[in-house]
């Protein structure tokens, strides 16, 4: 029984010891454990797999994926960061820039502004195509000139009073439809996601007059194309008390973990510690610093339970991003399957 418990722990927990982490790698492959059925079984996977959505706010999604392996969960995370396409400013045609911000710095800043445009409506630009067509390019114009306010008070030193248009915001970017884009997207409203991104500061006489081309790209090419502010996952914590912990030790134990993880119950006058909600813990491993406590607790993580947190930049809602990421992984497999079928293997 103890041996089976140990094997089970080896198979489905990652244990955090005082000086290292044990059982990190996936070992449940066929042949490794006698008596365990480890060959891939789609039906068993479908029975055990589940997704629980914990919280959805504007732009952020927290959900759990249970019953999947690290390799695949990580593949989804990597695709969310680097391979889900978006539209971003790529080419900036500078007609006039007399501001203090250099052309290339201005172009770099414009590229990083997230553009509210569904990338699924556009194609990738062909390599070598300099002008761009209406199906792969979005054109924006930023034309702004700063001037002095003649009505300002004589002694005023507040730039908001003294000058007009001295702060260039992303709301000053206007969409210039190319070709038949007005017919293709009749009710589309292409603009930056946020109106209040400060691009540059001007003083009277300075002006910026640029035309921008947005293209579809992926984060692998340049981080400006990444659709997520960040996408990350952590494994579900699993805290077990190996022995009952009472009185002062219980109080100390509660302080060692994040608030809400350990709760103290009053049983027959004595204070007893109990693990209330291990999910809240961030594993600072403070227990290991106390000699009296470190052998009473086992810190582990459940190997196949992933708590994903996806924060979108606002271009696409986070659940759409996760669906797109899964479809992209399917697309990769399909590409190689097509290759296998089309080329005769010798």
């Amino acid at each position: 029984m103890a041996a089976k418990r140990r094997t089970d722990e080896m198979r489905d927990r990652v244990v955090l010891g005082e000086f290292g982490v044990r059982n990190v790698h996936t070992t449940d492959f066929p042949g490794n454990y006698p008596g365990y059925e480890d060959a891939w079984d789609q039906r068993r996977f479908e029975e055990e797999f589940r997704v629980d959505v914990i919280r959805e706010e504007e732009g952020t999604l927290e959900f759990d994926m249970v019953g999947i392996d690290a390799a695949i969960a990580n593949a989804f995370r990597r695709i969310l960061l680097a391979e889900v396409p978006t539209m971003a400013v790529e080419k900036v045609f500078v007609y006039n820039n007399t501001s203090i911000v250099q052309d290339e710095i201005l172009a770099h800043r414009l590229g990083l502004i997230p553009i509210r445009a569904d990338p699924r409506l556009f194609e990738y630009r062909n390599q070598g195509d300099e002008e761009g067509t209406e199906i792969d390019t979005l054109q924006f114009q930023l034309k702004i000139k700063c001037s002095r306010n003649p009505q300002a008070a004589k002694e005023s030193s507040d730039p908001n009073e003294l000058y007009f248009n001295h702060k260039v915001y992303s709301k000053h970017m206007t969409w210039v439809p190319l070709g038949n884009q007005t017919d293709l997207f009749p009710d589309a409203d292409f603009r930056p996601v946020h109106d209040d991104i400060l691009i540059a500061l001007l003083r009277p006489g300075q002006e910026i007059d640029v035309l921008m081309h947005c293209v579809k790209g992926i984060g692998k090419d340049h981080a400006k194309f990444s659709p997520v502010a960040t996408a990350s996952y952590r494994l579900l914590p699993d805290i077990t008390l190996l022995q009952p912990v009472e009185d002062e030790a219980a109080e100390l134990l509660q302080k060692c973990f994040s608030p809400g993880v350990i709760e103290i119950q009053n049983i027959k006058g004595k204070k007893v510690a109990r693990v209330a909600n291990a999910r809240l813990d961030t594993f600072s491993r403070e227990v290991f610093r106390h000699e009296g406590l470190k052998n009473l607790v086992r810190l582990a993580r459940v190997r196949n339970h992933y708590i994903f947190s996806v924060e979108s930049t606002g271009i696409l809602p986070p659940d759409v991003l996760v669906s797109e990421a899964i479809k992209i992984l399917m697309g990769k497999c399909q590409r190689f399957l097509n290759e296998l079928d089309s080329v005769p293997m010798e």
Partner: protein, 116 residues
């Protein structure tokens, strides 16, 4: 050692045969791929009981291609576990997608109910 070179310009995989001509041990070169597909495909292929060895490596960090090696037990051609691994991975993704979309729908429906 026989290298089967295809001279089609946009071929994505170039199988390089090694260790004899019976096809048990094959190293596939997958272009434009990295750990994203490499590790997940390796996991699916390792779950196949007919596979004796499966591993991948990135030849050089500046080049985006991976060497994906499969060695099979017995006389099964190595392309078969490769194909099965890809199909299984597609199956996993499809199921994950369906489950995720269903969960999102349920969560939103539940939130609608709570708001009313």
């Amino acid at each position: 050692m026989q290298a089967t070179e295809m001279d089609q310009p946009d071929l994505q995989t170039l199988p390089v045969q090694a260790d004899g001509t019976d096809g048990n041990c094959v190293t596939f070169v997958l272009h434009d791929e990295d750990h994203t597909l490499g590790n997940s495909l390796r996991y699916m292929v390792m779950k196949n009981p007919d596979v004796e060895f499966c591993g991948y490596c990135i030849t050089h960090p500046s080049e985006s291609k991976i060497n994906f090696r499969i060695q099979t037990r017995g006389s099964l051609p190595a392309v078969e576990p490769f194909r099965k691994g890809l199909n299984d991975l597609m199956g996993v993704c499809q199921h994950v997608l369906n489950t995720f979309e269903k969960s999102m729908k349920e969560y939103r429906a539940q939130r609608e109910e709570e708001m009313q």
